[in-house]
C-alpha cells in the first residue's frame, strides 16, 4: 500500500516544492541584496492569491492569464511598503537591519492579515476553473493539469530571473551589490535603487507564487506566516547566493514533507520540515548547495 503511494507522493512533493522554491527565491533575493529579512513575505504571497481570486470571482479572468495583473498589483504594494516603511532602514548597519526589518515585518504581517480578514473573511478560498479537475494519469500516478502548469510557470519565472541577473546591466548591478555593496557604489551603482528593484522583484515573485497557490491549493488570510517559515527553511536549505540552489531546496522541502506525510502522518509534515531545517543548520550551515564560506 505504502509503496503504491510512493510515486504519487513524490510527484505531489515536487509540484508543491516548486511553489516553496519560488516563494523562497523572492525572500532570498531581497535578503541577499538589502539584508532586509521581510517576514511579511508570506503576506505578499497571500495578497497575490487574493488578487487572482478577486480577478476570477468578480471579473471572470482566467487565473493564469491574469498573472500579469497580479504581478502589477504586487509591484504597487511593493513600492508603497518600501517607500513608506523599509526605506527608513536602508542606512542601518547590517545587524540592526535584520532585526528591525523582522520587527517591522511582523507588524506589517498583522496589519495585512487583518485587512485581508475584513475584505475576504476567514474562510479558505480557492479558484476553481472549468479545467481544475483535469488530471493526466501516467503509470497509475496522477498529474493534475493546473499543478503541472504551475510548476512550468515557476520554472519560467526562475529562468527569467536567472537571465535577467546574468544578461542585463541592472541584473549585474544586483549581483555586484549582493557581493559588496560598497564596491558596487564605487562603480557608480545607485545602491538604493538596486534595493528598491530587488524588493519589487521579491514582491512580484511572492505574488506569482500566491496566485499559483490560489489555483492549485487554497488561500486564507492567516496563510502568510506558514509561507514565510517555509521560505526561510528553504532559504537556509538551499544556501544563500544561489537561486537555483534555493529553488532546488524548495523541491527538497516539498518532497520531505510529502514523504513524511506518507511514512508517518500528514499532521507531522511541518515538524519534519523544521527538523530538516535544524539538521541543515547543524551539519551544513552553508546550505545543501551553498559553497563553504572562505
Amino acid at each position: 500500500m505504502l509503496l503504491q503511494l510512493l510515486p504519487q507522493s513524490i510527484v505531489f512533493g515536487i509540484l508543491v516544492g516548486a511553489l516553496y522554491g519560488l516563494a523562497a527565491v523572492g525572500l532570498s533575493l531581497v535578503f541577499g541584496v538589502t539584508k532586509f529579512l521581510n517576514v511579511a513575505h508570506g503576506e505578499l504571497l497571500m495578497l497575490g492569491g487574493y488578487a487572482t481570486f478577486w480577478l476570477f470571482q468578480l471579473l471572470k479572468f482566467d487565473p493564469f492569464l491574469s498573472l500579469p495583473l497580479s504581478i502589477l498589483f504586487l509591484l504597487v504594494i511593493g513600492v508603497v511598503l518600501y517607500q513608506l516603511v523599509f526605506v527608513r532602514m536602508v542606512k542601518l548597519p547590517e545587524e540592526a537591519k535584520v532585526k528591525n526589518t523582522m520587527l517591522v515585518g511582523f507588524g506589517l504581517s498583522l496589519i495585512l492579515q487583518n485587512i485581508a480578514l475584513r475584505l475576504w473573511t476567514a474562510d479558505d478560498r480557492g479558484v476553481t476553473t472549468a479545467y481544475s479537475r483535469i488530471a493526466y494519469t501516467v503509470l497509475d500516478t496522477r498529474f493534475p493539469l493546473i499543478r503541472v502548469v504551475s510548476l512550468v510557470i515557476s520554472l519560467v519565472a526562475l529562468l527569467a530571473l536567472h537571465q535577467f541577473l546574468k544578461r542585463t546591466y541592472a541584473g549585474k548591478a544586483i549581483r555586484a551589490t549582493v557581493e559588496d555593496w560598497e564596491a558596487a557604489s564605487l562603480m557608480g551603482i545607485d545602491v538604493h535603487r538596486i534595493y528598491l528593484l530587488s524588493f519589487l522583484i521579491g514582491a512580484a515573485l511572492a505574488g506569482v507564487a500566491g496566485s499559483l497557490v490560489s489555483v492549485g491549493y487554497s488561500i486564507a488570510p492567516g496563510m502568510g506566516l506558514e509561507w514565510t517559515l517555509k521560505s526561510l527553511i528553504v532559504m537556509v536549505l538551499g544556501g544563500l547566493g544561489s537561486f537555483v540552489g534555493t529553488f532546488v531546496g524548495g523541491i527538497v522541502l516539498g518532497l520531505t514533507e510529502s514523504l513524511a506525510g506518507l511514512a508517518i502522518s500528514g499532521s507531522y509534515r511541518e515538524v519534519v520540515g523544521l527538523a530538516l531545517f535544524i539538521l541543515v543548520l547543524i551539519f551544513r550551515p552553508q546550505g545543501l548547495f551553498g559553497a563553504k564560506e572562505r
Binding site: 549585474k172 548591478a173 549581483r175 555586484a176 560598497e182 564605487l186 562603480m187 557608480g188 551603482i189
Partner: protein
C-alpha cells in the same frame, strides 16, 4: 583639480580625520603616505562619498562633492580602487569590467574603453571569461585597476595597490601607475610602501593620527628628520 578643505570626519563617536586639507593639481601624481590607521583610507572614503565629513568641503574643480552620493561622484570622474581591490569574485572578469563602466556616459563608450584597457592589460583579455575569484593576487589587482579605468576617470584614487603583492609585481604595479598617469589621468596614491611611493610621486602628503603633518616633494620630505627615520629607516 581636487581640493579638500579642513575636513573633520568621524566613525561613530571616534574622530578619524582632523582638519585635513589637501590639493591635487590636474595631471599630478600625488602620494598620501603614513602609518597604519593614520587616516589614509578614510581620506579616500571621504572623497568618494562613502563617508560624509562632519565639516569641511571637497571640490572637484569648481564643483562641490561634499553632499553627493558615491554613484554621482563616480559620474563626475572620480574613480577609486579600494584597498585589496575588492573585485566581484563571483562574477567574470568581463562582467567586472562592464560594471566599471556603469555610469551612463561610460556605458555608451564601453566597447572602445574595453579595447584600450585590454591593450594595457592583455592578461585580462585572455582571462575575460574566467570567474574573477580564480585569478591570482596580481591579476586581481590589475582587474581592480582596469575596472576603475572603465569609468574613464579624470581622477584615480589608488588605495595600497602594492599591498600583498610579491616584490617583483610591486615594481610592475608602480610602473603601470606611472604609465596611467602619463596618459593624462590625475592620481592620488595611498601607500604604506613610502619609499616607492615617494619615488613615483610628484608630491606627497604625510598623514599621522588623522592630521596632515608634512607635505612636499620627495627631496623636501627627506629633509624632515622624523619622516626619514620613521618611514625610510
Amino acid at each position: 583639480m581636487l581640493t579638500l578643505e579642513n575636513i573633520n570626519a568621524y566613525y561613530g563617536d571616534l574622530q578619524a580625520l582632523w582638519g585635513i586639507s589637501l590639493q591635487v593639481q590636474e595631471g599630478e601624481l600625488v602620494a598620501l603616505v603614513g602609518p597604519n590607521g593614520a587616516g589614509k583610507t578614510t581620506t579616500l572614503r571621504v572623497i568618494t562619498g562613502l563617508l560624509k565629513p562632519a565639516s569641511g568641503t571637497i571640490h572637484l574643480h569648481a564643483e562641490s562633492l561634499t553632499k553627493d552620493p558615491p554613484h554621482k561622484i563616480v559620474e563626475l570622474g572620480v574613480s577609486q580602487v579600494p584597498e585589496g581591490g575588492r573585485i566581484f569574485t563571483k562574477m567574470t572578469v568581463l562582467e567586472n569590467l562592464e560594471l566599471g563602466a556603469y555610469g551612463a556616459q561610460a556605458r555608451r563608450e564601453r566597447q572602445q574603453t574595453l579595447k584600450e584597457v585590454f591593450t594595457f592589460f592583455p592578461r585580462l583579455e585572455e582571462r575575460q571569461k574566467q570567474v574573477a575569484g580564480t585569478l591570482s593576487g596580481g591579476e586581481r589587482q590589475m582587474l581592480a585597476i582596469a575596472r576603475a579605468l572603465m569609468s574613464k576617470p579624470k581622477l584615480l584614487l589608488l588605495d595600497e595597490p602594492s599591498f600583498g603583492l610579491a616584490p617583483i609585481l610591486v615594481q610592475f604595479m608602480f610602473e603601470m601607475i606611472r604609465q596611467i598617469n602619463q596618459r593624462g589621468i590625475t592620481i592620488l596614491l595611498v601607500e604604506q610602501n613610502v619609499r616607492a611611493a615617494l619615488e613615483l610621486a610628484d608630491r606627497a602628503y604625510v598623514i599621522e593620527n588623522g592630521r596632515i603633518v608634512g607635505q612636499g616633494t620627495h627631496q623636501e620630505l627627506l629633509a624632515f628628520d622624523s619622516i626619514r627615520s620613521a618611514y625610510l629607516g
